[in-house]
Homo-oligomer: 194 residues x 2
């Protein structure tokens, strides 16, 4: 193999060894390409292997240059309904926390993100659906100390995911491969083809 090819393989393996199969987001009807793109880019930076989306109004998620190419490296699974997405995540052992601007939602810093965790993010206009709020294991919010009631959705995603990164760095979860060897090999081969 040429030196460049070896170098690239080393880089892919380095990143893959840090991927976290038990941390994810569920984007519920997030539709603006620059928001979707910024969220996937953040997912890549905190080591998310696969993100999830549900898009009740139909249509395939689209990305723009804001993704920085991250949609190549973070798998995105699109579910037909919110209920189907929750079922999928629960079957795989995730606790599902929905972001909510309501009174009574917990401060996002109180959650233990070292356990299998999925974060539900809501539509730019309407937020997380009533259905998802009802299905969730818990509601979380980021403290807002100003005049405006909510953050941009890609900003909110990042604030929560970097708290998760902080906790997982501290717990050593990026120090050893988290994927089982068979899945690791399958993904490496897929990445090498990109």
């Amino acid at each position: 193999m040429k030196e460049r090819t070896l170098e690239r393989r080393r880089r892919l393996e380095e990143v893959l060894r840090r991927r976290q199969p038990d941390l994810t987001v569920l984007m519920e009807n997030v539709h603006k390409p620059h928001n979707l793109s910024a969220i996937l880019r953040t997912c890549d930076a905190v080591g998310i292997l696969q993100a999830h989306a549900v898009n009740p109004t139909g249509g395939v998620p689209t990305f723009n240059e804001t993704s920085g190419g991250s949609h190549k490296w973070v798998y995105l699974e699109v579910h037909p309904t919110t209920e189907a997405a929750f079922r999928h995540l629960r079957e795989r052992g995730f606790s599902v926390y929905a972001t909510a601007l309501k009174e009574g939602a917990r401060d996002y810093r109180e959650v233990d993100y070292t356990r299998p965790t999925a974060i539900v993010l809501g539509a730019e206009k309407w937020g997380v659906s009533e259905e998802a709020l009802a299905l969730a294991d818990g509601l979380i919010h980021i403290p807002m100390l100003g005049m405006v009631q909510s953050l941009n959705v890609s900003v909110a995603a990042a604030v929560i995911l970097f708290e998760a990164q902080r906790q997982r760095l501290q717990a050593g979860l990026y120090d050893r491969p988290r994927l089982d060897p068979e899945l690791y090999q399958k993904i490496l081969e897929d990445w090498l083809r990109k």
Copy 2:
């Protein structure tokens, strides 16, 4: 006064009592309206009184609906050059940290944001200028554990500013008014007119 007027004044005062005159950002040639807007919205949420921008290529910063109206509540001062912006901040006692993707930049979580702090954010394409990197008191970066080298600028701003919020909440800096009474009154009057 009508009940509604009193209610609004109470709300404005509540927010103004949490404003932090000694925390800010300097946006160096950040030009996309949705990034600028998302950054100001985050500034509002962490209690920034006034943000700073420098725009060497000329032109006035523009906002879009992503701001959620926050540009009404966060003052923005535009400086003609990076050097002028640094001088302005230094004269007011700020330590200025530049975000940088270089080796050797400190992890952003290691900085003490309870002291007077300004964060320099760079252009979408080119990042923070060499000039600003050289002038800065320190370089900080957010750990990137994936394939992509950098975050969206409004995302990076939020990750750092919510770490600052965390530290300032813990230090009780939102519990008592931080503006001197004269400035407080002046701003309250300005806000009441909006």
